[in-house]
């Protein structure tokens, strides 16, 4: 951009909705996975797609399971962080397509309004991304906490996945995967 030098965008900390100026409500809780218990069975992916889409396809799951094998099992289900400052919501160009659920506080995509521009996917700072694109329906999709009764938690056979109320837990779990400052520069790379 501009002078040809590679720029690192540092976005201001935002907790206000740019449109209304109102404070964006934090999520009431977060999905948290304990990697010391998770065995990478991926039932969370299966039940997620079946519950939301009526078919079984991990490619359509709102949660992704990382599963390393060959240096010793390290497995962890990686859900959407339901960020306090949701970049996805800030960049969405369609009013109301990405909103905060009144009851759960989850950051939710309205499939009727989503235009499939994928700006939210690009903006998502997490690895792996919390938002994905459905190549058939041509819209984006993400975790909505199943309206408050997350099915992945229910079906997790080991208890690795939990829904934890309040703010504190999520940061610890994802700290090793998401370095906040580092993730900002990825916005340039899409």
């Amino acid at each position: 951009m501009g002078d040809g030098k590679r720029k690192t965008k540092v976005l201001p900390r935002r907790e206000l909705d740019a449109g209304t100026g109102a404070v964006i409500k934090g999520c009431t809780g977060h999905l948290v996975c304990d990697p010391s218990i998770c065995g990478g069975c991926k039932k969370c992916e299966i039940v997620c797609s079946l519950h939301h889409e009526g078919v079984i396809s991990p490619a359509l799951a709102r949660i992704t399971v990382k599963r390393e094998i060959f240096d010793g099992y390290v497995c962890e289900a990686m859900p959407c962080l339901q960020c306090d400052g949701p970049e996805c919501l800030f960049v969405c160009p369609v009013p109301g397509a990405l909103y905060v659920d009144d009851v759960t506080g989850a950051r939710v995509i309205d499939p009727e309004k989503c235009s499939g521009c994928k700006l939210c996917v690009k903006a998502c700072p997490a690895t792996p991304k919390g938002i994905r694109y459905d190549t058939e329906k041509k819209i984006c999709f993400k975790c909505d906490l199943c309206g408050g009764d997350p099915q992945c938690v229910k079906f997790c056979p080991t208890g690795a996945l939990a829904f934890v109320k309040g703010k504190g837990a999520k940061r610890n779990v994802r700290a090793i995967w998401v370095d906040w400052a580092d993730s900002q520069s990825r916005l340039d790379q899409g």
């Binding site: 990478g40 069975c41 079946l50 079984i56 396809s57 490619a59 099992y73 497995c75 079906f155 080991t158």
Partner: protein
């Protein structure tokens, strides 16, 4: 799309000689042949001639999935494989194996329900299947590598959600105890299938998919899966304080040093101590869609990695290790390292525990094998060094003894017997023969097969003789297998009496270990049930939960869940009883016909003389009567052991009966 619930609709057919790939329509075979083992049997009937030998290009590797693979149904993670096996004592014949991991699901998401592979590639290749496409690719840089290195390379090329079945050096060198491996310790371990794959110059098959599986009634499928999962789940086990094998977390959470089962299953006692002190890190893994989590990795602070699981586990070498090192070695290090090496070489882990090592030790003690003729430091038997050398020799066929090991136990023992006789050592030859018969009790052409460790339960007799010894694992269905070590023998006996009464009308069926009470209906039920299980393709882990469970001895079990989840998934409405009979019944008959076509008759359904000598509770007269009863119940000819035409037609196998007649085999 009607008719395709649970299935994708296409099966790959690969000709490695010509290098081309075509497809078959899955619905030409299912729901009639159910899926998994049944589907593979029908494909075998169509594709594998009784005249071809196991290591020839005309043999087929038939990988199949079932309607539950890739769905939410718990523990439906196995891939089934049917092939003509080179590893029996005398003739090559149908055998099968199955293995867990992620491949079955990935194959379906990639757009296929199975893969039939024939021919032989001119150079080493691997098969790569992804989202509706399949390619035969060069394995130039994979051939020669061990099972872990091969998979790292393939996943590095194709993405880490890919899943593959690979062979190691043992398979490449056509060792008859070679296996096909996925991930760390999911193996297709039976029948020398690794050698068949090596004989085709096929190093690996890999799949990755982003597609989908649809189910007929999603809500019901979801609810039933939840109900079944609750019977197995670790959450439930922990809540009820019954965490026990096969779940590996027991080693961390509720380890009991005095528990003989835990101490035996892996080098758990030492590992536990080492983990507490921070010297090793345990990792827990699961197959796709299964909460049992029966896999474990052990990583030491100096970077040594090994692994174990329920089936192919580290415990295989543990007793040998103890005989050499006692309890001094840190974290059972020898057994994990030797098992690790065995797995990397791609050699059957299970057989080494029940097949190779017992006979090897016996031969050493009997003076049949020495330092000179083995090239091994026998004084170090049980050490790490010994174990590694042993498996290296086998995998690379080093020297005369390496060649002998590569024959696998049945053929190797018969070869030793022959050599003893040639040298005039007839007494030793007879001893070798006796020991062989105890491990491989079948007489006749179909001898060999999976070895049995102990011939102690008479309810093993008929399945041992008539089918794959794997039937014995199914006996765990009623054997209160899931009931943990905290249940007393008395309580187990009460549960078994109740199950015997409920399913067979005789409370002694399961408890009468040395007699034949109710053993014919028990055998038939279990053989049929195993086809249902291996048709789905279900791991055996959930099955003990359908019939009994580890949480409490009052639990009656609910096998109706099997039919319900099958129906909700496929839309093919069948109860469990209907799946067991006529579907399971038909599939047993189909496999019997395959063997009949390959030469099996009544005289092959018998044991060697020494087996009767060694077990005074087993008489020839009584066994003959039981066999007569079994044949009658099955509808097979009493003289030949061949299924009658009437039976085959009743079960919808008229074409098979006609094919047998055309092959000159009379079907009465």
């Amino acid at each position: 799309m009607s008719g395709l619930y649970g299935w994708i609709g296409q099966i790959l057919k690969v000709d490695l000689t010509k290098g081309n790939i075509t497809t078959l329509e899955t619905l030409d075979y299912v729901p009639k042949f159910l899926g998994g083992r049944g589907l593979a049997a029908k494909l075998y009937w169509d594709e594998v001639s009784p005249d071809c030998t196991a290591l020839s290009p005309d043999n087929a590797l038939i990988f199949t999935t079932g309607p539950l693979n890739g769905t939410l149904a718990p523990a439906a993670s196995k891939t089934h494989l049917a092939f003509k096996s080179p590893a029996r004592s005398f003739i090559d014949a149908l055998w099968w194996s199955s293995g867990g991991g992620n491949f079955a699901s990935q194959l379906k998401y990639a757009g296929y329900d199975g893969v039939v592979i024939k021919g032989k590639a001119a150079e080493p290749v691997y098969l790569w299947i992804h989202d509706g496409e399949a390619e035969i690719k060069s394995a130039a840089y994979l051939w020669g590598q061990d099972t872990v290195a091969t998979q790292r390379e393939i996943l590095g090329r194709h993405g880490d959600t890919a899943s593959c079945w690979v062979i190691g050096p043992a398979g490449e060198h056509l060792c008859l105890n070679a296996v096909i491996t996925s991930e760390l310790d999911s193996t297709m371990g039976r029948g020398g299938c690794g050698a068949v794959m090596g004989s085709k110059n096929l190093k690996a098959i890999a799949a990755r998919g982003t597609g989908r599986v649809t189910v007929a009634r999603p809500r019901e499928h979801l609810d039933l899966s939840y109900e079944i999962e609750r019977l197995m789940s670790i959450k439930e086990q922990e809540a009820t304080g019954t965490l026990s094998p096969p779940n590996m977390r027991q080693y961390r959470r509720s380890f009991d040093l005095h528990d003989p089962l835990q101490a035996k299953t892996t080098a758990g006692s030492l590992m536990h101590e080492e983990e507490k002190s921070g010297k090793v890190r345990l990792g827990f893994g699961a197959c796709h869609g299964c909460g049992t989590q029966c896999r474990i990795t052990i990583k030491s602070s100096d970077g040594q990695l090994a692994w174990g699981g329920v089936c192919c586990d580290v415990g295989s070498y543990r007793e040998l290790e103890k005989s050499y090192y006692g309890n001094e070695l840190p974290w059972g290090r020898s057994s994990v390292m030797v098992s690790d090496y065995c797995n990397r070489m791609g050699i059957s882990h299970h057989y080494l525990y029940s097949g190779i090592f017992p006979w090897f030790k016996w031969c050493v003690d009997a003076g049949v094998l020495t330092d000179e003729n083995t090239g091994l430091p026998l004084a170090k038997y049980g050490s790490t060094e010994f174990g590694m050398q042993f498996f290296h020799k086998c995998a690379y066929r080093e020297g005369d003894f390496g060649e002998l090991l590569a024959m696998d136990a049945p053929k190797a023992m018969l070869e030793l017997e022959r050599r003893m006789k040639e040298r005039g050592e007839s007494k030793k030859a007879y001893e070798v023969r006796k020991y062989y018969e105890l491990l491989f009790p079948l007489s006749g052409k179909f001898a060999g097969g999976q070895p049995i460790k102990k011939f102690y339960n008479s309810d093993h007799i008929l399945p041992t003789m008539l089918g794959d010894i794997w039937e014995r694992a199914i006996i765990g269905v009623f054997r209160t297998y899931g009931l943990g070590p905290r249940i007393t023998e008395e309580e187990k006996g009460r549960v078994e009496a109740r199950l015997g009464e409920r399913y067979f009308g005789d409370k002694n069926t399961l408890t009468d270990r040395r007699g034949f009470t109710g053993k014919v209906p028990l055998t038939i039920y279990l053989e049929n049930l195993s086809h249902v299980m291996e048709g789905m393709v279900w791991c055996r882990e959930p099955f003990s939960r359908f019939y009994a469970t580890q949480y409490h001895t009052d639990y009656e079990g609910d096998p109706s869940l099997i039919g319900k989840v099958y129906s909700a998934t496929t839309g093919d409405i069948k109860t469990t009883e209907e799946l067991i009979n006529p579907v399971g019944e038909m599939l047993v008959n189909l496999e019997r016909c395959i063997w009949v076509r390959e030469g099996r008759r009544r005289e092959d359904d018998w044991f060697g003389d020494y087996v009767f000598e060694a077990h005074d509770w087993l008489t020839k007269k009584e066994l003959k009567e039981q066999l007569d009863k079994y044949y009658t119940a099955r509808g097979w000819d009493l003289k030949t052991g061949i299924p009658t035409r009437a039976k085959l037609e009743e079960l919808g196998l008229k074409d098979v009966a006609n094919d047998l007649e055309k092959a000159g085999i009379s079907v009465s």
